[in-house]
Symmetry: C3
Subunit: 666 residues, 3 copies
């Protein structure tokens, strides 16, 4: 069954309204809601006094309208009494400022008192709802994130280090603390990387970011353990924040869950642009699918203007539907819209939902009602369908944290570089998996691992094995620079990949952002036809050892020297791109790569039309999504059937603006 | 008698100089000075030890030169001993930082110890000067303002809420604290909206801003009560900071005073522009007159470059005179220049006065001397003259605070929108009153109430009654959005004014700042002739219920739908402008409005020449002020007499740059 | 002997590597290293337990390769145990934030405990190394700087004031504390100028900046005293930060040292520009030479990309050599490159040295090796050579601090104004001394004292005497504005120089940064030929008393009035420039000045080629430095010998990009 629904807060509205809400939901095809993830104040109004009556009543009404529920553990926003009980449970920011009451997520994730209250409310809810027919699963907390730098975290960090390193000598050696005489002689001396401490030791800073990521993983695990024990028939998930969120190692956070869910807001208040670039959303979905290598839920899908203090652009007619099917095309097995009704009170007054503040159904309700009707009809044909990309992009959270600590160039962006390669693939409708550096790569024809900055032996071996066995690897400048302690390696760059790439970095230079260096490419199939690719921001000057040169710089004192090399290694090939390129370069390299690897495109489409494949058993589903504001034509190679209309289409097909087709073989 | 003078600090200069100062003042026509508002250190050098000898001596010398004085209570800047006595009396900023010693206004306005010291020094001064022949009145403190977020204010806020709401249940209901589980179960849990608390609950935040505004009103009232009791023959005022100051409800602050005074600095250090827009000053004066609906004083009028750490542009020749007469044209009954002599010491070293640091009279002294001579001659004909506008603009401080909390759009400015409509009226020389939402509107032919965001029942009834009785109302998008708790209303927008306006907001959209939407206007007298009016920032999509459509959008997905409507209601009309427009739109709408309402212009003048009317009994005075840098011609309809020259003028009259005429019927 | 070497950190690398390092150094011509200035953790691992074994061993290996050492006292970066011992020794920033552990220079310079630990480690090192044959001298701490605002500094400031002023009455009078009632009645009330105190009293703020400068001078003196007593045969220096560093009175800091050393980084990470302006480095060297009026060392010369979190541009081929000889041309007697090998760990991972992280010699090593070979051959002919400029620019740290407190105009820069006049001289290859306001000026033909804002009687007398005795003085707007208490003088501007300049400032105006006022110049030798000089930012309107007018404004209300005047006074002349000019104005004025004063140029060269003179006894050395990226021709007036090639050159000489010649008479 395709789960279709909304995020619903009955506690925000009079009971008299609940029946009407349930009826309107049912009329819109809703079969699932998420409830209660911010209702701690009503669930446990005083310490250890629980009140489930209101939630029971809401579930009863919903269930009577054929609607089931995911319950959220409400720990993302503690009631005042919890924080009054533990004044030292307020999170401390990197600036050293301690949070005060008034928002949400103000808690320190390692605070023992807070963790205890979290276990108590989770246990109470789990026991009460373990066998409720309307309850199908759980969401842990809400959008985990943000680091804490409080004294309790400092002590826990010291303990975490002790566990990891065993001795202070090992810590001092790993971090190179003799630099500037930071040799720690007591565990208690080790600081947290507060901004008031200045630019920190990179080793300490990376370990702190790992510790904080772990803190959330462990906090989540405490709730998972309770729920698994108490509600063995329920699934457990958490609502992640997509590709762009960068403070937690999401591969780790996903491990204990049944599947990943995430919150998709293409039109945020603070991103007021006329058009949403399709690839910017596609990479988010593909990353979320990649975390566990399986389908995911969209736990919050935008259904109105976003915004807290300001109001964003409202979704244009057709956009909600387009975003819904884009999510499904990339692997979503469920869609819940956030939120049912726009709240009249509180910080999120302007985070609009399906209904407006006055509760009346208008345009956005009608659009969602239309989608609901479609999915009631065709949802079964979509749910559980598989994505089967032949290209992987490697995403490394250690690298991501390390670049937060040392960006290397002020305008360098690690996710930006990944996205630039992703965009070049997306433009060709080549499916992509986003994977961790130690993932099994054997199923991919090509692997792109840009700027794999922190590179341990296991990941290096994984990539080397991949190439040896016939894979094509693309990697770039700033790969293999650091070992896992965030120290620069004691060998020529790209360090542990120097042999695979058959190249050594002789020296490197950085450029002012407004200066770029033209490249002379000698790749066999350079199809850029006149458009010159450029190096930007960072220029490695390369000495090939076994590789051949496929691009040279045409400016600066390293004019004529190697910028990109290609190495045959084992049965595979490794392309080393010694710079951060512009879009022309990345498109050129991807052109070469997909041709060399023999990776097919889902379909060739005009700009603005996205084509995505999934497989339901051995039935191929081809999603066509027109993101453009005008009609676009697509040529189909064979006759196909559109699931949405049940009509057969072939040859030249016209897609209206924001239109969607889901095609299968005729 | 027209009060003309300076702000004087004899305590900054050697006694030997005082006689010379008084003589130079007398020669410049000075009859009034403000004294002592920053002299607490000399008036009470130690706790409860008072020294008035120096001030008595200064008053004696001044009085001997025909000069009387307003005394300032010196509480705006406490001596070090006061703050050493109460370390917790330092104000806490929204950032959480506590002020330290070294400037002024560092005090918390609710601190009981500070309030006690304030009463003691006020009582002592009042007793000493109650019957002094040179003393005519009092200024309370100096430029009240800036919010405090300290623990004492937190406790006082909790008490203020208890007084306002009675119970915690009522607070929780009003603010909708179930959102994010903020249900308060003890009064002491209620926080203040520190920045460390994140984006706050809008209800809490608005109540806090009201509480802080009240804190200053109450602090002022304590001094007012002492002075009324002890000096029954003296007037009491405070120096306000004009239209642009937005942290205190100035209608409330004015209530306890005899009249409003304010500080007018057209050329501030941090506003370094070649020309000062005349309307930007006019709206300040009109707002100050509107606070009590009566004439006001300019307690500080710029007489030199402003600046603390940097130095602003110096007033151009003629500007001081022009600003003086502009103030009088808009209702000033007194002008005091700030300050007599530029200080050699202290933070305000570069806030220049009439004399330079070396005490020598130069250009600016000579200009002021000229004005003094004029006002000695004609001041009696100006003082007490009335302004009688037929148009009002509604200014609502609750709305202003609420937009500080939630700007709705990052580039939306509530005072900017008011000013834009004001400018359109000013350009036509139509006089304007700035009034509160509950003011008596019966005397106005047209009322403009833009973005009346927080709208209570009383104000809504007031506006509805006004239209019913034949008035013309213009209101705009973001009107009637919130009730008085800062919750979004549970009805279609514009909420309580939906019936009067005959319209419902079907949905709304916001635009990137650089994007605007052309409008198709169908107002009867649209005279823009080719210039297209545009919607900006915010677009309501309207459904008229009883109104007619007078403008439609020409772009975006709501092209063709209603943007502006006009409704006949009772004996009047209501124009609903569903967007933030550009200047063309506002000028077009004002053209329609003044024609529809039959509001006359003071005179039609070329750009840069301001014409303002006042009535001295039934004698009409027409002020002509040429703000331009070149000569401008004006056509007079009848023969008139210029008070400044006693000459009769008629027909085409030429005004020199910065020239002024004050005309009455011949 | 010319000292040539590197900054070396053997403690960062395994002992097995030390021998290889020493050998590579020796092969590069290194004869000197700086050691140990950040090694406190290894020198004193626990309180009062010293370990010199490792340093002894490193010295032994180096000495065996003919290398001697300067030792740094390691107090710039305390080990964790020191700071754990004194939690209140962390510096407090002006923001009020207290530093935490994790970087360097986190200490408060007046903390008695920290000062004691500093004396103990200094004494221990001094005793151990007093007679070591490899040790030749000491560097105190490292790059002193940054102000502290902690409670201990506050108490010490109060004591410093008591010492300076004797009584609170004197303090109150000096600062004019009656302004805003800041009259201090107890010493303990006097605050430090924290940002939380708002814009401070200028007198207090200037005294605080002097106190903080003194704090470092006194801290340094404690170590100097120990070293002088214990190591009488060693020299003592400190590594300064050049012209641009502005938090310490460097004339004072230099006083106790044998000579000045400084750290020269032309290509910083946060200054990513294609070309380094030659004058921007020349003014740094000249300032460092000026501090004691004698030759200096470059203790850290850039040898690779700079950067902590980001990586700067790498020195282009030839730049390290060019910078080396530019330093020597301006008076450097020694060059040490920072650092030997790029560190694999710690905050400065990306502050690259001669070798890369992997320790292999590459391009930069080879370049430095080449320089080493040259200097082994010709160093003796350079060391100790004298600079003999005939023009001085006056640099006043009191003025500099005062402009930090009150910039006067937001875009005014005091060092920028000095640099603008310096650039005009540098462009003509006229040598310049940078001197203090009370320096002996008798040897200069012209003295330029721009914006000498804080002007005491002694400096004023010095300048007056200089002009009386025939000197030519150029001074500008904002000269003589303040007395030494930072009060504005009680006389017409330019205050104490009004008589020498024969002029009075009638009034002044400031301009928006984008507005400038053209000037009409009537200097005898105005050679600008069509390019119009402009006034910017600040315009004094002048009334000459005895001077003649040499420039008038051509715009604003002061069009036609005097902007620049020239006065004959005694046997000399004083040019008063009543504005901040553009480059055209400064070049025009410098053209006039050098011609009027009869100051010769080292040589006339094309743009980009710097010509600098030094004298070795009576042998003139002419340095030619081509900073351009292409070849440049220079015409030599006589036949000369190039020390670097031993070849005779004459007539037209071609310099390759980045080429250097050191010429002496044939």
């Amino acid at each position: 069954m395709f789960r279709f629904g909304v995020d619903y807060y009955p506690e925000h509205w009079p009971r008299e309204r609940w029946e009407m809400d349930a009826r309107l939901m049912q009329e819109a095809g809703v079969n699932t809601v998420r409830l209660a993830e911010f209702a701690w104040s009503y669930l446990e109004p005083r310490p250890d006094h629980f009140d489930f009556e209101w939630l029971d009543r809401a579930l009863e009404i919903l269930y009577a309208h054929g609607i089931q529920a995911i319950l959220g553990t409400p720990t993302a926003s503690p009631p005042p009494w919890v924080m009054a009980m533990y004044p030292d449970a307020y999170r401390v920011l990197a600036s050293g400022q301690r949070q005060t009451y008034g928002n949400r997520r103000e808690y320190c994730p390692t605070h023992p008192g807070y963790r205890e209250r979290s276990r108590i409310i989770t246990q109470a809810m789990a026991e009460h709802y373990a066998n409720h027919p309307a309850v199908i699963g759980w969401q842990i907390d809400n959008e985990f994130g943000d680091r804490c730098y409080c004294p309790i975290c400092r002590a826990n960090f010291q303990a975490w280090l002790q566990e990891k390193y065993g001795s202070l000598d090992a810590v001092n050696a790993a971090w190179g603390t003799i630099f500037w005489s930071h040799v720690y002689t007591e565990w208690s001396q080790i600081p947290v990387p507060l901004e008031t401490g200045g630019v920190p030791n990179p080793g300490l800073a990376l370990d702190y970011d790992r510790f904080m990521s772990d803190a959330y993983v462990r906090f989540q695990r405490e709730q998972v353990d309770i729920l698994r024990r108490t509600c063995p028939n329920h699934f457990i998930t958490h609502n992640f924040m997509g590709f762009h969120y960068d403070r937690i190692n999401y591969f780790d956070l996903a491990r204990d869950l049944d599947f990943v869910a995430w919150d998709n807001y293409p039109r945020l208040a603070w991103r007021r642009v006329m058009d949403v670039p399709p690839a910017s959303r596609a990479i988010e979905h593909d990353t979320m699918r990649g975390l566990k290598g399986k389908n995911f839920w969209v736990m919050e899908e935008q259904s109105g203007s976003g915004g807290w203090q300001t109001v964003g652009m409202t979704p244009r007619p057709g956009e909600i539907r387009l975003w819904t099917y884009q999510a499904i095309a990339h692997g979503a097995d469920a869609i819940l819209y956030f939120r049912w009704r726009t709240n009249r009170f509180g910080t999120e007054q302007y985070w609009h939902g399906v209904l407006d503040h006055d509760g009346r159904p208008r345009r956005r309700y009608r659009e969602i009602q239309g989608i609901g009707a479609e999915l009631q009809r065709i949802g079964d044909q979509l749910v559980g369908a598989e994505s089967r990309p032949q290209v992987a992009i490697v995403l490394c959270y250690d690298t991501r944290f390390a670049f937060q600590i040392q960006p290397n160039h002020p305008d360098f962006s690690y996710p930006g570089l990944l996205a630039s390669y992703y965009n070049a693939l997306h433009r060709r409708n080549v499916g992509v998996d986003i994977v961790s550096p130690t993932a099994d790569l054997s199923r991919y024809k090509a692997v792109i691992a840009p700027a794999l900055y922190v590179l341990g032996q296991e990941a290096a071996d994984n990539l080397q094995r991949y190439v040896e066995n016939g894979g094509i690897l693309l990697t770039t400048a700033r790969t293999g620079v650091k070992d896992e302690t965030n120290a620069v390696v004691n060998m020529p760059l790209p360090g542990l990949l120097a042999e695979v790439c058959g190249v050594e970095v002789d020296e490197y230079d950085t450029l002012p952002t407004e200066v770029s260096v033209p490249l002379e490419l000698t790749l066999p199939n350079d199809t850029t036809a006149g458009e010159v690719a450029h190096a930007r921001l960072w220029c490695d000057v390369l000495i090939p050892t076994t590789a051949e040169i496929v691009a040279r710089y045409r400016d600066q004192y390293y004019a004529g020297r190697a910028a990109i090399t290609l190495n045959r290694f084992g049965r595979g090939q490794a392309l080393y791109v010694g710079t951060v390129g512009d879009a022309v370069l990345h498109e050129t390299l991807i052109d070469w790569l997909v041709q060399a690897a023999g990776v097919p495109s889902a379909l060739t489409t005009p700009d603005g039309v996205e084509a995505v494949e999934r497989w339901k058993d051995e039935q191929r589903l081809l999603f066509l999504l027109n993101h453009a504001n005008d009609t676009r034509d697509v040529i189909l190679p064979t006759s196909m059937i559109d699931l949405l209309t049940d009509r057969t289409v072939e040859g030249r097909v016209t897609l209206e603006p924001k239109a969607v087709m889901i095609l299968r073989g005729a």
